[in-house]
């Protein structure tokens, strides 16, 4: 278990009698639990101990969940290199996991572990106590083998928080179970989302969405010519935000401090140089480059982002849900460079750029399919989960 858990909570304590009573939930060390080491997978936060519970942790605890530990994670949760996300489920050491979704990590980790993975709508879940990387794109994702658990967890953690003013002033969706009627449900698939796929992958993608057709849903081909720009926008706008926000890691109060500095500036430079791993460093360098040398490109990225959000809104207006390909091209191997990361997450980054919810469903047993990535409009989280439950139910022989 040590290889999976970064911190194990040996005494989860009395879990009370809430709606999540007895559910074991693993978090990551970028989600604050008071008194726990919380290094976000980076030397830049070495020895940092969370001072208070993140809002989501506090709400889960109140609902009776046992926060059983935090799993090893990639540096700042960016990508899945060295991440053990999903492993605690595979080993049955937890019933659900919380995994920060920056560019699609929770969905891809779910596909590795063959469980369900859900990235809620941006703004639905408090970010208080989350040590993130790209504040406008990341959101706490959920993993579980059981969609009912996911629904109960998101119901518990979603909604307004006095400690996170950035949540929009809007009503959280009603997460009670709801029926889906395939006959009057249109699921769109985006032609351009397949452009980066190999012909074999395209074949597998279509085989997997055949399940939807078989279930009686109307599939509709849709076009979004700018779909390939999602990764570009994510890469530019995301890296600039990351670089600006990560300016706080100076290794003074926490974090590994480099030796041999002659003055504060030196200490700062040396420590930052030593603290970040190569992937993060190149991401932060890139962000600093766009911020200080090509600010116009950053502004363009923000403008294009607004356009992509509009385009996506059109698609989700013209259909009830979307289905998108998802492939774990790396397996569990290392994806060490930025181009690798953006190739790996080419079909998941869209939901982080737009803020819409996305759900990963593992393939039906006995198939070699990659599984389904379903998405809906912003705040359609409850319906998206209902769609997932409908499909899982069908597989179990339900109607």
């Amino acid at each position: 278990m040590d290889s999976i858990f970064y911190h194990s909570n040996l005494e989860p304590g009395d879990t009370g009698d809430g709606s999540l009573n007895g559910l074991r939930i693993a978090i990551q060390p970028n989600i604050s639990a008071a008194g726990w080491p919380t290094d976000a997978g980076s030397n830049a936060l070495a020895n940092f101990t969370a001072l208070e519970d993140a809002t989501i942790v506090q709400r889960l605890r109140k609902a009776g969940a046992a926060i059983c530990g935090s799993t090893r994670m990639s540096e700042f949760g960016f990508g899945l290199t060295n991440s053990k996300a999903g492993e605690a489920l595979r080993c049955q050491a937890a019933d659900a996991e919380l995994v920060l979704d920056i560019v699609g990590e929770s969905r891809l980790a779910a596909s590795r572990a063959a469980v369900c993975g859900f990235k809620p709508s941006y703004g639905l879940v408090s970010r208080f106590g989350l040590i993130g990387l790209i504040p406008s794109m990341e959101c706490c994702g959920l993993l579980s083998g059981n969609l009912g658990n996911l629904r109960e967890i998101i119901k518990t953690i979603a909604g307004r928080d006095e400690l996170d003013f950035s949540l929009p002033d809007e009503q959280a969706p009603d997460f009670s179970a709801q029926a889906i009627n395939p006959k009057n449900t249109v699921i769109g698939f985006i032609s351009e989302a397949q452009t980066a796929l190999s012909s074999e992958q395209v074949q597998m993608y279509h085989a997997s969405i055949g399940e939807l057709e078989k279930a009686g849903f109307h599939l509709r081909e849709m076009s979004m010519s700018d779909f390939p720009l999602f990764t570009l926008v994510h890469r530019i706008a995301g890296s600039v935000e990351a670089s600006s926000c990560a300016g706080r890691y100076d290794s003074v109060r926490y974090g590994r401090r480099a030796q041999g500095a002659r003055n504060w500036n030196d200490m700062y430079l040396l420590s930052r140089g030593a603290a970040f791993g190569p992937l993060l460093k190149s991401y932060l360098f890139q962000g600093a480059f766009f911020q200080f040398e090509r600010y116009v490109a950053y502004e363009d990225a923000c403008r294009i982002r607004a356009r992509l959000i509009k385009d996506m809104q059109r698609l989700t207006r013209e259909s009830d849900f979307l289905v998108l390909p998802i492939f774990d091209i790396a397996g569990s191997g290392d994806m060490a460079s930025l181009p690798d990361i953006y190739t790996q997450f080419a079909t998941t980054a869209f939901a982080n750029v737009t803020g819409q919810p996305a759900l990963y469903l593992p393939p039906p047993e006995g198939t070699a399919h990659p599984g389904l990535q379903l998405a809906g409009s912003r705040l359609s989280d409850a319906r998206l989960l209902a769609l997932g439950e409908h499909l899982m139910n069908m597989r179990r022989g339900g109607k």
């Binding site: 940092f48 003013f165 935000e241 926000c245 300016g247 109060r253 600010y295």
Partner: protein, 478 residues
Amino acid sequence: MEFEAVIGLEIHVELNCATKMFCDCPNRPGDEPNVNTCPTCLWFPGAMPRLSREALEKAALLCLGLGAELQPRSAFDQKVYYYPDLPKGFQLSQAHLPLSRGGGIDITDESGKSKTLRIHHIHMEEDVAKLVHEMEGRLPISLVDFNRAGAPLVEIVTEPDFRTSYEAMEFLKALRTQVRYVGSSECSMENGSMRADANISIRPKGSTQMNTKVEVKNMNSIRHVGDAIAYEIIRQTADVQAGEAVVLHTRLWDPDKKVTLPMRAKFEGPCVPDPSVPVIELSPDWIKEMRSRLPEMPVARAERFVKQHGLNAEEARFLSSDPEVAVYFEAMIGLGVAPRTAMHWLTTQLLPAMKERRQELSGSPVTPTRFAALLNMLVKGEINANAAREVLILLFNSDEAPESIVKSHGFRQVSDTSALDSLIDKVLGEQTAAVADVRNGQGKAMGFLVGQVMQASGGKANPKIIRELLARKLGASK
């Protein structure tokens, strides 16, 4: 060639809110170092900024008080710079979408002409921590005090409308008055609640070009701002006349040597919007509500003082320049003191006495009620002016009512003519020469005789009545 200066000011005003801008820590930078801190203002990972309503309201009032236009949408950005007073690596500031645009202040320039100095925009931002440089033995050390970190600030950025240091000083004085009026800040440069930086460039007189500017910082009083600008104009003019180009940089004012010196620039980059602070959307109703909270502003109040209380323009401007003084003045009028008496005693007696004691009007033991009671006794002739001055001093030291002070200290003036008669007769018997002078029409001698009677009464006699009685006895005019 004759040169003229082009000057713009950037003024930081610390809002007098109860809490910091993005957390609930007390906004008391002067407390014991690092006591007013929390994860948010220490900028710890995972903490989220929560904009204070009070800060927004006080900033909005300040904008309205300066005639600025509140923007329906404003937002915070991350202003990146790396320095130990900002361990977060960025300051939250409204770089792209400021709280207000426009506005301005009318001043009277050196030639006596009215001139409007325009404000470009006003934005909110959080203050950074304070660095304290000390020696530990022979080792220089720098300490960081986070009490100030996250304190609520607004920055007022003017148009480059200023041509002289005088205009800059007048602007700052008027700004201070107006901000004090709306109650958003004390605006004291001496205690750091107002800081002004000046951007200065020079150009041939009459030209419209904008040349390379130099920023001057570290002025701790309005006078220093004037001195620094005046110095910088001379320095730049000399450089240009010597054929040297002005280079964009920042200089620090050295108040002891009275020179500006170049400083090492901080690394500063363009700003990125911060998604963790929600966009501020101000509804027309909210703006209306703020506008309704705006007090009568100094210019309007001075005009009313002239019309309503018969003061001259200068008196009215002086009394309305400090809201506390203006309110005190009108409170006295409400208690039956004539406006001119109130104005005269307030400006020549009470305010100097306050200053001497380093007291403010608010919280002073000399309340309008007590001061008015004292002046009403004076007007009724129960005490004379000398006694009133002495009672005023006593009012500072006790809670006793002015009436009882007068009684217990025997300040009541002798107006009883029969009691005065014998005193006057005695003086007239002694001062025969002066009596002769008065009879010969020499007015000066009359004053001398009044003084002699006053002295004989131990200062308690009413000089007006003495004069009347003397005139009657000597058959002279008063």
